[in-house]
Amino acid sequence: MGLMNRPDARAVTYDPPSQDGWVATRLDFLVNWARANSLWPMPFGTACCAIEFMASAASRFDLARFGMERMSFSPRQADVLICAGRVPFKLAPVIRRIWQQMPQPKWCIAMGACASTGNIFDNYAVVQGIDTIIPVDVYVPGCPPRPEGLMYGIMMLQEKVKRERMKDQELRHEMVPDPTSKLYIPPSAIDELSEPFGNSVHQTRSGL
């Protein structure tokens, strides 16, 4: 649900029983407004996207305008895990552990093509997208995404936060990985997600 294709503002649906009362919506609005405008990022910066993340946090593309200049390097005070950069398999348990140690409510932005889908590193060493490890809310394309691209992703996340309702129960569930395989989505889904696509399908070795 990007910013562009908002539902048609003129059409108004009015169905009192199914919607919350005045108090609940105002409380939701207050809580969501406070959360959306003070998301403390946990910059899980691994590679080139981390440098672009630092550039967007510096003075020209100021992240402070979104209330995000307070970088919390410990998961205990973090709201958003911004995975900036590629995640090799050796780092997979680390990012999984940090995500589990973040208190609810928490969101995740996969910044850059490497974090979203493994990018050009379709090989033995790199996780093909961190959504096979942790649930991701916003994917920011680009290699590295321009600071404006990251901010658009942040604005979409703020939009998502403002749309949450406290009463809907299945929002804040802790991810429970399967005890034996430690995967939180079925292996078939991981294989299908990590299927090579685009140029990396025909990475033939034999030099012509």
């Binding site: 398999f89 050796k90 997979a92 348990p93 999984r96 379709d122 090989n123 033995y124 060493a125 996780v127 093909q128 096979t132 490890i133 990985p177 395989s181 430690k182 995967l183 292996p187 078939s188 991981i190 294989d191 997600l193 990590s194 090579p196 990475q203 070795r205």
Partner: protein, 232 residues
């Protein structure tokens, strides 16, 4: 606080070449590095062949004698190759060709560049003497070469995997028979990565340091005490 070291200039040795941008380098048969002749004279049996490709001299050396050659090049006042730039290996595409271990050496005093090569036939176990006693720089370079190619360096103090995690099962990634996307399926790779048990993140040294040995679960303690050294 020492009042500072004396500055070591480069190119001060006798016969040091004047620095100039190489122009029109011929493909084969340029002027060989004078050290190659000196090596052939000093180690007639160890030096097999000398070739000059794109202006760089490569000396093929007997694998067993690499440490003596390196020590001689390092200590000999006429050579003074004190800078080890790189230790790596090359595996060619056709299976018969042996794996070549390559050492890049520089003499800062004489401004010379030399490449030592040792051919390891594929049938025999891939073992080469480590040059770590002479060049401390070789420590991690050789560990990476072991991690990527499976070449064991004798005399290396702490030969463990350095880039992959120590319990990495899939083999040696840079070998030509290792598929690009790894041998296992993606979910299997992820499962192994996530399930790497805690002690995989700590080497034996650290466990002994932390005297945390009794904190570990009992079954892990037996495995650690009796199990094979990871990376063996």
């Amino acid at each position: 606080m020492s009042d500072g070291f004396t500055i070591v200039q480069t190119g001060t040795g006798a016969g040091a070449e004047t620095p100039a941008t190489p122009r029109h380098v011929t493909h084969r048969g340029g002027a060989p590095n004078p050290s190659a002749e000196a090596l052939r004279a000093h180690f007639p049996d160890a030096v097999r062949q000398v070739e000059v490709v794109w202006g760089e001299t490569s000396v093929y050396v007997e694998p067993a004698r690499v440490l003596d050659v390196a020590r001689w090049l390092h200590d000999e006042p006429g050579q003074r190759y004190e800078f080890l730039a790189d230790v790596t290996a090359v595996e060619f595409r056709d299976p018969e060709q042996p794996i070549v271990v390559v050492w890049h050496l520089r003499s800062l005093a004489l401004r010379r560049f030399l490449r030592l090569k040792a051919e390891l036939p594929k049938g025999a176990p891939l073992v080469v003497p480590s040059v770590w006693p002479v060049f401390k720089a070789a420590d991690w370079l050789e560990r990476e070469c072991f991690d990527m190619f499976g070449i064991r360096f004798e005399g290396h103090p702490d030969l463990r995997r350095i880039l992959m995690w120590e319990q990495y099962r899939e083999g040696f990634p840079l070998r030509k028979d290792f598929p690009l996307r790894g041998r296992f399926s993606r979910s299997e790779q992820l499962r192994q990565a996530l399930a790497a048990n805690p002690e995989a993140r700590y080497s034996m040294e650290e466990l002994s340091i932390a005297d945390a040995f009794e904190d570990l679960p009992t079954e892990m303690r037996q495995r650690l005490a009796s199990g094979p050294r990871p990376g063996e």
